[in-house]
C-alpha cells in the first residue's frame, strides 16, 4: 500500500513538473490578453516561437514587432493603437489549430497574422474563416493556404510560381538539363514545391533523373543521397527548411556529389551557412527580396531592424513587417478596424509598396510579386537574377 502511494506521489510530482515546464514555455508566447477596448486594434499572431523551426517564428515576430512599434509611435492607425496577442505553435500544425481557436474565441482578435509554415497556416485558416476573422499569412507559400476561405490572405509569392521560377532558373539561366529532387514527404511546403518544380522542369524539356523523399524528423540522408548520386544529376532541387538543408548538403558532399543544390525560401536563416559549413558553396535559393536594393523603403527597414535587434534581418522578418503594413493599408481602405472592414480592405490592396517589393492582392487573395535568386559564396549571399511572375509560364 505504501509502495503504491509513493508511486502515485512520484507520478504526480512528475506530472506537475512537466506541466510546469510546458506551461513555462507557453507563458512566454502569450502577451497581454487584455479585453478589447475601443481604442485598440487587436492583432493575433501565431508562429513557431519554439520547436524545430523556432528561427522562422522569432525572425517573423521581430519584423511584426518593429512595424507595430513604428505604427504605434506615430499615433497608431486612425488614432487606434495596435495590440499584439502572440501564441506559440511549437512548430506543429495541430498546435497552430489549437492556438488559432484561442485567438478567435478567447482573445477575439480583429485580424490574425501567421504562420510561416504552410502546414500550420492550412490548419489554422478554417478556424479564422469560420469565426469571420481575416488571416494574413506572411510567408506560407503553398497554394492551398488561401483556398481555405475568402478571408484568408497572404503577402508572399506562391509555391507554384516559386517552383516554376526555380525550374526556369535551373534550365534557362544555369543551363542544366538533368535534375534530381529530394523533399520532405510529410511537409506541405516541401511536397508542393517539389511537385511544381518537377512539372515545370519537365515542361521546359529537362529530365528528372531521381526523385526521392524522406519523412519525419530525420537528421541523416545517406540513403537518399546514394540514390541521387547514382543518377548523376547536374543540379539537385532540395525544397526543404534550413534545419535540414545543411545536413543534406553535408551528406551529398560526403558521397562526392558536387552538383549545386537549389532551394526555395525555406533555406533562409541566419544559421544557414553555419549549419552547412562550406558544403553549400555555389548553391542557389529563391528569396523574397534583395537586401542590396537601393530602395529607401528597403534600406530604411534594414537600418531600423539592425538598430532594434542588433542582428541582420531576413526575408521572414521583412514579410512579417509587410504583413502589418498591409493590414494598416487595409484598415485605411476598408474604413475601419472591424474584422469585416479589414477583410474588405485587404481585397482592395493594389500596388502596395513594401520591403519585399511592390505587390497587389489578386482575386484569389494572393500577392503577385517577383522572386530573387541568390547565390551562396563564402559567408555571403549575392543576387543572381530577379524573376517576375510574367517571366514564367
Amino acid at each position: 500500500m505504501r509502495k503504491a502511494l509513493s508511486l502515485l506521489a512520484l507520478l504526480a510530482l512528475l506530472a506537475v513538473a512537466s506541466v510546469a515546464l510546458l506551461g513555462g514555455c507557453k507563458d512566454k508566447g502569450g502577451d497581454n490578453a487584455a479585453a478589447t477596448e475601443s481604442g485598440e486594434i487587436k492583432i493575433g499572431v501565431f508562429l513557431s516561437l519554439s520547436g524545430k523551426n523556432a528561427d522562422f517564428g522569432k525572425t517573423t515576430k521581430n519584423g511584426i514587432d518593429l512595424a507595430v512599434e513604428e505604427i504605434n509611435a506615430s499615433g497608431g492607425i486612425g488614432g487606434k493603437k495596435i495590440v499584439l496577442v502572440s501564441k506559440d505553435t511549437r512548430s506543429k500544425p495541430e498546435e497552430a489549430q489549437t492556438v488559432a481557436k484561442a485567438l478567435a474565441t478567447a482573445d477575439k482578435v480583429a485580424v490574425a497574422i501567421g504562420s510561416v509554415e504552410s502546414g500550420q497556416s492550412i490548419k489554422a485558416a478554417p478556424v479564422f474563416q469560420e469565426a469571420g476573422i481575416p488571416m494574413v499569412s506572411p510567408s506560407s507559400t503553398n497554394p492551398d493556404v488561401t483556398k481555405q476561405g475568402d478571408r484568408i490572405f497572404r503577402v508572399c509569392y506562391l509555391d507554384d510560381f516559386q517552383g516554376q521560377a526555380c525550374a526556369a532558373f535551373a534550365f534557362k539561366d544555369l543551363g542544366f538539363k538533368k535534375a534530381a529532387i529530394i523533399f520532405a514527404q510529410d511537409d506541405d511546403y516541401s511536397k508542393g514545391l517539389a511537385e511544381f518544380f518537377r512539372s515545370s522542369f519537365k515542361a521546359l524539356g529537362g529530365t528528372i533523373v531521381e526523385d526521392v523523399a524522406f519523412q519525419g524528423e530525420v537528421s541523416e540522408f545517406k540513403d537518399q543521397v546514394s540514390k541521387i548520386a547514382a543518377a548523376n544529376p547536374e543540379v539537385i532541387f532540395a525544397p526543404v527548411y534550413y534545419g535540414s538543408i545543411g545536413l543534406i548538403a553535408r551528406d551529398f558532399r560526403k558521397q562526392g556529389v558536387k552538383a549545386p543544390l537549389l532551394g526555395g525560401d525555406g533555406w533562409e536563416s541566419p544559421q544557414l551557412i553555419q549549419l552547412a559549413g562550406e558544403t553549400l558553396e555555389g548553391c542557389y535559393f529563391g528569396y523574397h527580396y534583395d537586401p542590396d536594393d537601393k530602395d529607401e523603403k528597403v534600406q530604411g527597414y534594414l537600418k531600423a531592424y539592425k538598430a532594434k535587434f542588433n542582428t541582420e534581418p531576413n526575408s521572414l522578418s521583412a514579410l512579417g513587417y509587410d504583413a502589418v503594413y498591409a493590414i494598416k493599408k487595409a484598415i485605411e481602405l476598408g474604413g475601419g478596424a472591424s474584422s469585416d472592414q479589414i477583410t474588405e480592405g485587404l481585397r482592395k490592396v493594389v500596388d502596395f509598396h513594401g520591403v519585399t517589393g511592390t505587390f497587389s492582392i489578386d482575386q484569389n487573395r494572393n500577392a503577385k510579386k517577383p522572386i530573387t535568386m541568390l547565390k551562396i559564396g563564402g559567408t555571403n549571399l549575392s543576387k543572381v537574377k530577379v524573376i517576375q511572375p510574367s517571366d514564367v509560364k
Partner: protein, 313 residues
Amino acid sequence: MAEVSLTTELLQYVANGIAKGSTYALMAVGYTLVYGVLQLINFAHAEVYMLGSYFAWFQAKWAGYLPDDKGARAETVPIGMVALFVAGAMAACALVGMLIERVAYRPLRGAGRLAPLITAIGVSLLLQYGGQVVFGTEPKLFPTFAETRVYDVGGVKFPNTNIYIVLTSVVLMLGLTLFVNKTRPGAAMRACSHDMRTARLMGVNVNATVSLTFAIGSALAAVAGVLVAMDQPAITPLMGVRIGLKAFVAAVVGGIGSIPGAALGGLLLGVSESVVSGLWKPVYSEAVAFVFLIVVLLVKPSGILGKSVREKV
C-alpha cells in the same frame, strides 16, 4: 563520371547501413544491459544520448571552438581536445545515468514491472522538454571534431565519420564483452542478472552493481551521441527520440539481455533500412525494416540471440 554499377550501388547502401546500424547497436547495448540486470526498459536512455552530445557541445563552446558570429565557420578541434571532450561527456552522462537510477528507479525496485516503466517514460519526457527549456529548441551547430574526408573504394564512398562510428562501436562492444565476462564487477553484473536476491546473499553489492550498469550504459550512449553529432552536426533536444526507438527495437530483435544480440540487432536494422531504401524507396525503408523485424520476432520471440530460458546478459 561513369554510370555507377548496381553492385557498387548496393554495396554503398550496405556501407550506409553498417554506419547507421553501429550507432543503433551502441545505443541498444544500453537498453540491453539495464534490462539484463533489472528487467527494466530504460526509456530515458535516448535522452542520455542527447545529453551526451550537448555535454560535448558545451565543453567545446567553453573551450572556444564554436564561432560566435553566425556567419563564421567552426574551426576543427584538435584530437587531444576531442578525447578530453568525449571523456567529459562520458563521465557526465555516467553521472546522469546513475542519478536517474537512484532517484527514479531504485525507490520502485520490487514494485512490479509496470511502475518503473511508467517512471522511465516520465523521466524521458522530462528530459526532452526540460532540454528544450534549458538548451533552447533551435538546432545547435556541433563543433568540427574531424575534418570531413571521403575514401573511395571502387566507387563506394566511405566518409571518415562513418569509419570512426563503426570502429569505435566495435572497440567499445568488444571491451564491454570482455568486461562483463572477465572482470569481478562484470561477474557481479552477471550474478545480479541471474538472480538478484541470491547475488545479495552471496555478498554482491547489488546497489553498486546496478549503479555501475547504468554508468556504463550511459557512457556508451554519450559516445554514440558524440559520434552521431560528428556525422550530423546539428543537435536538438529531441534528437534521441528516433534513434532511441530504433535502438530499443534492435535490442529486442537481437535478444534483449544479450550484448552480441544488441550488436547484431542494430546492424540488421541499419542495413535492412538502407538496402530497402536502395532497392525501393527511402520513405518505405522504416516500414519494411520493421515488418522484417516483426517476422524475425514471430519466428523467434526471444530475439535472434536471446535465450528462451530466463537468463540474461
